[in-house]
Symmetry: C2
Subunit: 210 residues, 2 copies
Amino acid sequence: LNNISQPTINRLCTLFQILVEMENAGVVTISSSELGEKVGIGSHNVRKDISCMGGIGSSGAGYEVAKLKNAIALKFGFTDQKLTCIVGLGRIGTALLQHAQNTQGEFRIVAGFDSNINKLETIKTTVSVFPAHQIPEIIRKMGIELGILAVPETAAQEAAGRLIDGGIRGIINFTATHISVLGKKVFVKNIDITGELRILSALIKIDSIG
Amino acid sequence: LNNISQPTINRLCTLFQILVEMENAGVVTISSSELGEKVGIGSHNVRKDISCMGGIGSSGAGYEVAKLKNAIALKFGFTDQKLTCIVGLGRIGTALLQHAQNTQGEFRIVAGFDSNINKLETIKTTVSVFPAHQIPEIIRKMGIELGILAVPETAAQEAAGRLIDGGIRGIINFTATHISVLGKKVFVKNIDITGELRILSALIKIDSIG
């Protein structure tokens, strides 16, 4: 990434969520120190991150919430709705499918996939569902950019391979397995509940010794 | 944390998962460079992280998989099963409840909570479920250490407050809302699917400009 670092992207995404909440709460302006407190960084770093957006200044009263939020949305392409699919329609996958139907705006779940064809017939959803072998074809046909992987661990790499074959740009990996992107330019974010529980356990244990 | 940094804890937890997979695949020894490749860091840093465990050496053939795995488990308290609860039994919470019943070993889901008492009566699970106002009492009575927060965003802070009242040690926050631990020594890990989708969108956008 040439002009903006990944940690800065992460922090600006956190900032975006805070600005959404502020705007919903009717807040019009916010200072860099208030923003820093919420993100957990210093006000200097908030201003530095925001300067990456280019041309967003703050008045004496601070940043305009709506203006800063819109600048981040524009810079990061949140204004273009991203079509998303879910692979693996077990309990978690199905929950996400239902959950996602309520989401408006930035992301839209337009397809679900499962290797069990009998299961596809029983799922109650308004989202179209397809057998897993059709993943590459459907991704290309519908222009799906993001995929959420919620298959069993043993099926993770095969399913990821099909997403990548179809030209997916980003994957959220809900399995504990590390997946390979097979040398393609595909971004992966891991969401691993067991892993997070382990980190909490370790923090508690080390804290009790320390 | 006095004797081991949080990034080191994170990496050693990733290492632990890899060692579990290696052991299941029948691998007996592994080198620091192979481990580094899988974690995405250099072999020097792998050795440095492992040295925090104390007294774990590698032979010419590398580290013994089982020995290193067990050393991490012992150091981080993975050998003591942690009792865990889920707050918010909507689609995601219920899916986690079912999912967790299959999990053996390090974590055991022993209670579910929801503020909707009518909902509690309809949930099919072998895990005990209780109304949300009983959270502090049940946590104390059962000795629950970890809580998974899967309530609507507007209910997140109140539910977190109840967990903290009961003396919870760690929280996985599945809501997009930032929660305050009210000055108590409680560790929080955030799992935010929308946030991760946004980061993927931003990475794709910046990559396409860059």
